[in-house]
């Protein structure tokens, strides 16, 4: 097991999680490759996300719009903004071809907004590209364990 790589990707993903919990969205947007996609699928058996209905399938443009919606103050479902704390663990490097690293980990998010505490568990699968001594996110797939159940509005970035 390449523990140094594991430590590197873990540190990168923890940092990303910390940015999202603390609203550092501009920095977060900079973590991505130009063609990177942020995906929250519905059907756990599906892998052709592009040709399937998802909760989110965001390219660079849509990620920017999503951030703007969260901070713009025009949306009643995100004002007040939800507070989140996410815990990331169980990191495993699935593949590494020298350029791209695929990592899977577990995420538990606690969300609090307006008298209500909610909990979302998900498998996260990242495709990371080595860049300038660190990584860029080329793909992030958030597979909620209850993705095919009814959900409530999620007014933040998973």
């Amino acid at each position: 097991m390449n523990l140094q790589l594991l430590q590197e990707v873990t540190a990168f993903i923890w940092q990303e999680g910390d940015m999202l919990d603390h609203g550092e969205y501009d920095t977060w947007l900079g973590q991505w490759t130009e063609k990177g996609t942020y995906i929250i699928p519905i059907d756990p058996k599906q892998s052709d996300y592009e040709n399937t209905l998802n909760y989110a399938y965001d390219d660079h443009h849509m990620r920017g719009l999503r951030v703007q919606r969260l901070i713009g103050g025009e949306s009643i479902s995100t004002s007040p903004q939800p507070r989140t704390v996410r815990t990331l663990s169980r990191f495993r490097v699935l593949s590494d071809d020298g350029v791209n690293v695929t990592v899977r980990c577990a995420q538990n998010v606690r969300e609090f907004r307006k008298e209500s505490l909610k909990h979302y568990s998900a498998d996260l699968t990242y495709t990371l590209v080595r860049a300038a001594g660190s990584f860029k996110i080329h793909r992030k797939v958030i597979s909620l364990i209850n993705s095919n159940d009814t959900l409530a509005g999620i007014g933040y970035i998973l």
Partner: protein, 424 residues
């Protein structure tokens, strides 16, 4: 299937709770009224259960609910669509727990009674103990009366109500128009967003013909679209209209130029569709069909509300399911062109994700507004919900009544049907 046990003893007269321009707050909050609605509305009229494309082949099925009763919608070997109560005739267990799938039969997991796709009881394990005291022909899965129009499948517990087509009445021509967004390929429902909100089902029913809320509640969505789309959605002061179509159905035309998607095919392709049009041409699709697809890809310019539980809403089906007096489940079923070009269908999928669902730019704000209605309605229990917007300009039309695009005419239509059914 009309011998349901009357479970409701209302102490209030529902007719007194609906006036022509307002409804009483208790319509959102009274559990006794909710129980009465299940019986007098959801168990007494045509309720939408599926689009035909959701059960394409023999053995394809989906499970859903009529009111709070679990049902299976399944296509049998003769290609007929059956709507069956999801309840074994032996001791009551559900015979299917999957949302959708394909099967040869339904077998109860408790004692193994097996049913064919038309609901008939085929097999009882170890039948000898029954001797001659059981007749399989008497114990099929209960099959509901099922009829379709324009690919939309409805079922009812009542054998004695009017045929579906009569119930839909003037709404049928709008359903035909809505299906034109298939661009000649036909309509397919390949998935849906499902979410719940803590509020009464009628709050969602009203919303489908509520143009008034759009610029305010959906401000963040409007900030996220291009100039042309923004213009298109600036409809509150525009020439659109709301029309009462009878039997509780209504249509809200927001964008009149997008009522008939097969008209004006020779007009210039809007700039926002240029990239898609180029992609379609590159695939070898001829120019007339490119124009047809591009015109249909964004959906229709109207919302058609079909009482009590489904709407043809611009580019998707909006389905509501009552859970309790203060909770409702909503499904936003995405529509694609069945066998149409992948590029066009991707456009539709991304469009749906942009507005709909728990992470859409529209749905969560609707949901928040509805939640606020339910919460606020706990105050002032003797107050009324006002529905008088657009009354002064309301005039008779060929199909009913018509008023301006942000009139509450559609809501008034739904509540008049509610009153009629609840008073029956």
């Amino acid at each position: 299937m009309s011998n349901l046990i009357p479970a409701v003893n209302l102490t209030v007269d529902p007719a007194a709770l609906v006036q022509h321009d307002r409804v009483h707050t208790s319509l959102y909050t009274d559990p006794a009224l909710f129980d009465a609605e299940l019986q007098k509305i959801f168990h007494s009229t045509w309720v939408w259960v599926a689009h035909e494309s959701e059960v394409p082949d023999a053995g394809s099925y989906k499970t859903t609910f009529i009111g709070k009763q679990p049902v299976i919608v399944v296509r049998d070997r003769k290609k007929a669509i059956n709507v069956l109560l999801n309840r074994c005739r032996h001791r009551g267990a559900t015979v299917c727990e999957h949302k959708k799938g394909k099967t040869n039969s339904f077998v109860c997991p408790y004692h193994g009674w097996g049913y064919a796709l038309d609901g008939s009881l085929r097999g009882i394990p170890h039948p000898e103990s029954y001797g001659d005291c059981i007749d399989k022909a008497e114990l099929p899965l209960v099959s509901l009366r099922t009829e379709s129009y324009a690919g939309m499948v409805f079922a009812t517990f009542k054998d004695d109500i009017e045929p579906l087509e009569d119930f839909l009445g003037a709404a049928r021509k709008w359903m035909d128009l809505f299906m034109k967004q298939g661009a000649g390929y036909g309509i397919k429902v390949p998935g849906e967003h499902r979410f719940r909100f803590p509020g009464n089902w009628k709050i969602q029913l009203e919303n489908t013909t509520d143009a008034y809320h759009f610029p305010l509640v959906h401000k963040s969505f409007l900030s996220s679209v291009d100039e042309q789309t923004l213009e298109l959605f600036d409809f509150v002061k525009g020439p659109g209209y709301v029309e009462d179509l009878g039997n509780g159905h209504s249509v809200m035309v927001m964008i009149p130029e997008l009522v008939d998607l097969e008209a004006d095919l020779d007009k210039p392709i809007p700039e926002r569709f240029e990239a898609l049009a180029a992609e379609l041409r590159d695939e070898g699709i001829d120019e007339p069909q490119v124009r047809r697809i591009v015109r249909a890809v964004g959906g229709s310019g109207f919302n058609l509300n079909l009482f009590p539980n489904v709407a043809c809403s611009m580019a998707f089906f909006r389905v509501l399911q009552p859970i309790s007096v203060t909770e409702t489940e909503i499904h936003h079923s995405v529509i694609t062109m069945d066998g149409g070009p992948a590029a066009a269908n991707r456009y539709r999928l991304r469009l749906h994700e942009h507005f709909q669902g728990p992470m859409g730019f529209g749905t969560p704000d609707d949901s928040e507004a509805w939640e606020r209605v339910q919460k606020g309605a706990r105050a002032g229990e003797d107050l009324w919900i006002m529905l008088n917007r657009g009354l002064p300009g309301e005039t008779p039309s060929a199909d009913g009544l018509v008023s301006d695009v942000s009139a509450e005419t559609g809501m008034r239509a739904a509540y008049q049907q509610w009153k009629k059914m609840m008073s029956a």
